[in-house]
């Protein structure tokens, strides 16, 4: 039955294409979709914005049940110590400024004064200390993202407006990590039960942002209204409604019928249909995300760097971007994405052109010889392995393309398609796999220590289990360097080194496609989930 889900998506897309005919009959198909270049009008207050989400959210950023659909609302209502700036660098949120100690082993954040919770209670440094000491750092609670704070020993409220993070090792990326799904929780509400209070997680939570929850209707919608206790300028919108619409094709249909103000277009096949619709804009947005192919380093065939490089030459990544992402993406050769503009090294983009001959040469150099059937062999054994495919997003078509590309250089990859949950258990929990494609999304910082350090092999997020003292050294240097210039220098080296050694085989950096109503203004040019941090600045032009 889960297999049907894919073909259902494809058929639904077909129906949407067919809808061109329907709308042509009823008229009103004038070209639009070009970015609005007219003079910037002054923002006006009022109006309701509607945004679709795929499932019921959990309104608590640290709950292990807060999945991707929860990010929209949690980023809009809860505030962190910092938030991602419009350039994705950490920007003030509840904190106004921050400094690190000379030894790099603590960070001190100066908090805003006069901040109140949506129920009118005062916010203070105690809430920050509570969120970390009593929730995130408590191992028994299993809080989401707690692995990101392994370097944090404790958090101290120095005075009501000052909070200090004490570290066990240097952690230069802390301000960036605090901007990433790290909303501060109200101590006066959640002291007894921080992660499983239903009236909070599935009801009306107490928060500090420009909006607060008005009503949570399970399975249907969550509506937000202005938070009159917000410390900053009043939000323009009267109301923001998140409707629960699980089917991505229905979401597109709702955008076409004008029921939705802004959404992420998950089904990129519908992009041309949406582009021609009146009243809608299509925009591509940067993401801190990259797709990779992990080759399990416990398999001796994959420990030879020439084999990994051969695979990257063999895979036509531009063709994958074109056919699967409809061009919305760029080739990746390192874990640092172009969205992190201050750190990204564009000179690596052309490092591995599609070159099957070069791939064969590298495999030959690594001791593989083509047999009579064209399949590469070593010690009489063919180069054959299984790639586990999780059923989610674009993974199935991508794996099929990679399989074909590898076959052209004499490598046989058998695809084993699995339901997502079972796939995670086999490949991530048990690490019982040879090769698999997936992606990482991470905080807006080049500190990729958790995904590459040898200490994270086997049990942590180092999925291929690649271990390399030189890479470890670079990762630690990156965490220790305190100023921007020295961090840039370290992460430039790290990009060059990982592109050469290929701990993961880097595939591509995806872009998000957002569909936006032409009357909606003030949305920053960020991925929609990041733009939620700026919901107070959104406004609706009068029609």
């Amino acid at each position: 039955m889960l297999f049907q889900a894919r073909s259902r998506l494809a058929l639904g897309a077909l129906a949407l294409v067919g809808a061109l005919l329907v709308s042509a009959c009823t008229g009103a198909a004038q070209p639009s979709g070009s970015p609005v270049a007219s003079a910037q009008a002054a923002p006006v207050a009022g109006g309701t914005v509607t945004i679709p989400i795929g499932a019921d959210p959990t309104l608590n950023p640290w709950s292990p049940n807060a999945f991707v659909e929860s990010l929209f609302i949690n980023r809009a209502i809860f505030e962190g110590v910092t938030k991602p700036g419009k350039d994705l660098a950490p920007a003030p949120d509840l904190a106004e400024s921050w400094t690190t100690a000379a030894d790099g082993l603590s960070w001190t954040f100066k908090l805003r004064s006069g901040v109140k919770w949506s129920d009118g209670s005062p916010f203070s440094a105690d809430d920050v200390a509570f969120t970390f000491n009593d929730v995130v750092l408590k191992p028994d609670l299993g809080a989401q993202n707690r692995a990101s704070y392994a370097a944090v020993k404790s958090v101290t409220a120095v005075d009501p407006n000052t909070v200090r993070f004490d570290l066990s090792r240097k952690f230069a990326a802390l301000p960036s990590f605090l901007a990433y799904n790290a909303g501060i929780l109200p101590k006066h509400v959640l002291a007894a039960n921080p992660l499983t209070t239903t009236s909070f997680n599935k009801g009306v939570p107490v928060s500090t942002g420009p909006f607060k929850v008005e009503k949570y209707t399970s399975g249907q919608s969550v509506s937000l209204v202005r938070n009159d206790n917000y410390f900053g300028p009043k939000a323009y919108l009267d109301k923001v409604v998140f409707t629960v619409v699980p089917d991505p094709n229905t979401q597109v249909a709702q955008a076409l019928s004008g029921d939705i103000s802004i959404m992420i277009l998950d089904n990129k096949a519908a992009v041309d249909r949406v582009k021609t619709a009146p009243g809608l804009l299509v925009a591509s947005r940067p993401l801190v995300q990259y797709y990779w192919l992990a080759l399990n380093q416990t398999d001796p065939r994959f420990t030879d760097v020439r084999v990994r490089q051969a695979f990257v030459y063999a895979i036509d990544r531009q063709a994958i971007i074109k056919s699967v992402e409809l061009g919305y993406g760029s080739i990746a050769n390192s874990p640092i994405t172009p969205a992190l503009a201050a750190y990204y090294d564009p000179s690596l983009a052309s490092k591995y052109p599609y070159d099957p001959q070069k791939a064969k040469d590298l495999l030959t150099a690594a001791g593989w010889k083509a047999g009579a059937d064209g399949v590469m062999q070593k010690d009489g054994k063919p180069f054959q392995f299984t790639m586990d495919v999780g059923q989610r997003g674009v993974l199935e078509p991508v794996n099929a393309l990679i399989q074909q590309d590898l076959k052209k250089v004499g490598v046989i990859a058998d695809l084993n398609t699995m339901e997502w949950n079972s796939y995670i258990q086999k490949d991530v929990v048990r690490r019982d796999y040879s090769a698999t494609v997936n992606w990482w999304t991470y905080p807006s910082d080049p500190d990729v220590f958790p995904y590459y350090h040898s200490s994270a092999a086997g049990k942590g997020f180092n999925i291929p289990g690649y271990q390399d003292p030189k890479l470890d050294d670079l990762l630690v240097q990156g965490q220790s360097a305190s100023d921007l210039e020295s961090r840039k220098a370290v992460y430039k080296q790290l990009q060059a080194y990982t592109s050469e050694t290929l701990p993961y085989l880097f595939l591509w950096y995806p872009q998000e496609i957002d569909v936006i109503s032409t009357s909606l203004k003030g949305v920053p040019e960020l991925g929609l989930r990041d733009a939620m941090h700026y919901l107070g600045e959104w406004w609706l032009a009068k029609k």
Binding site: R8, P64, N65, Q144, S218, T243, V244, T250
Partner: protein, 300 residues
């Protein structure tokens, strides 16, 4: 029987590969995973957990959802009325439309109208619900703007008229999962009955054709149709999974999908118990309906 269904489900879902969605995530460390398994009590053996669940269930407590920490009964109770409304409307549409169509076909057997309606039922049988659903949304919500595209109510207004408008498209889409079967059963059953001696007798007695049709033919032809409709109820419930996803309908079908994908063991078990109870109830209702239409069956 319901206890048996609950035991079977409990053991099967617990033995299925994977685990609760909160621990089967890419971005959960091994240490977090172990802490969550302990918190959810999943480190204890399955038989022990089942007995505890059963003890609770017998006292009316169906357990706590692993995905939301809410009581399972509350989550189901929240969604059950929506699914009953949707499935009931679809059933009503299927019966109200399906039986007359089948009768018309039987009476005009072999004529053009019979062929056209047969073709339509064949199409109805082969069109997948999710596809039909999207087409209905595109035509009636996107192009014609006459009906809402998804949800049970509008966010701003919650009136009876608004609720009915939201019900139309999903009920029609869901009805297509069983309507063609109802039509086919009625048609073949009616054709069979029309050849029976008692129908010929009634006609030769000089009774008007309408009386023959309703009192003699249709009443007898309906007996197998009623049992067919009873047997179609599980298919209808199954159809809600897709229909509810397409139309953003907050019912049990969607809940079941989320529960299964997220390996919410208590919720899956609770849903199975409720659906089993509905199936039992449906067959009971069919038996009762027999006593009304079949003169040979009387409650003792």
């Amino acid at each position: 029987m319901i206890v048996f269904a609950s035991a079977l489900t409990f053991f099967f879902v617990n033995l299925a590969p994977g685990g609760p969605a909160s621990i089967m995530r890419f971005d959960v460390s091994a240490e977090q995973r172990e802490a969550l398994i302990r918190l959810m009590g999943l480190d204890r053996p399955v038989p022990q957990r089942y007995l505890e669940w059963l003890a609770g269930a017998l006292r009316g407590y169906l357990g706590t959802s692993l995905l939301t920490n809410e009581p399972v009964a509350a989550r189901i109770g929240d969604r059950l009325p929506n699914t009953l409304t949707l499935a009931g409307s679809a059933l009503l549409i299927s019966v109200v439309l399906g039986i007359p169509i089948g009768v018309v076909q039987a009476m005009r057997r072999g004529r053009a109208i019979d062929h056209v309606l047969s073709l339509l039922t064949a199409v109805g049988l082969s069109v997948p619900v999710f596809w039909l659903g999207i087409i209905l949304i595109l035509v009636f919500a996107v192009s014609l703007h006459v009906l809402p595209s998804a949800g049970v109510t509008s966010v701003s207004s919650d009136t009876l008229g608004d609720r009915l408008a939201h019900l139309v498209l999903p009920a029609v889409a869901l009805a297509t999962t069983i309507l063609p079967t109802v039509v086919r059963f009625t048609r073949s059953s009616m054709i069979e009955v029309l050849h029976e001696d008692y129908v010929r007798t009634a006609t030769s007695k000089g009774l008007p054709p309408s009386t023959v049709m309703t009192r003699h033919a249709l009443r007898n032809a309906l007996i197998p149709v009623v049992s067919a409709v009873g047997a179609l109820v599980p298919r209808l419930i199954g159809g809600t999974v897709v229909t509810e996803a397409v139309f953003g309908w907050p019912g049990m079908g969607r809940l079941a999908l989320e529960a299964a994908q997220g390996r919410d063991y208590p919720l899956v078990t609770g849903l199975t118990v409720v659906v089993a109870a509905i199936a039992v109830l449906a067959s009971l209702l069919v038996d009762l309906a027999y006593t009304r239409i079949d003169p040979r069956v009387r409650l003792a």
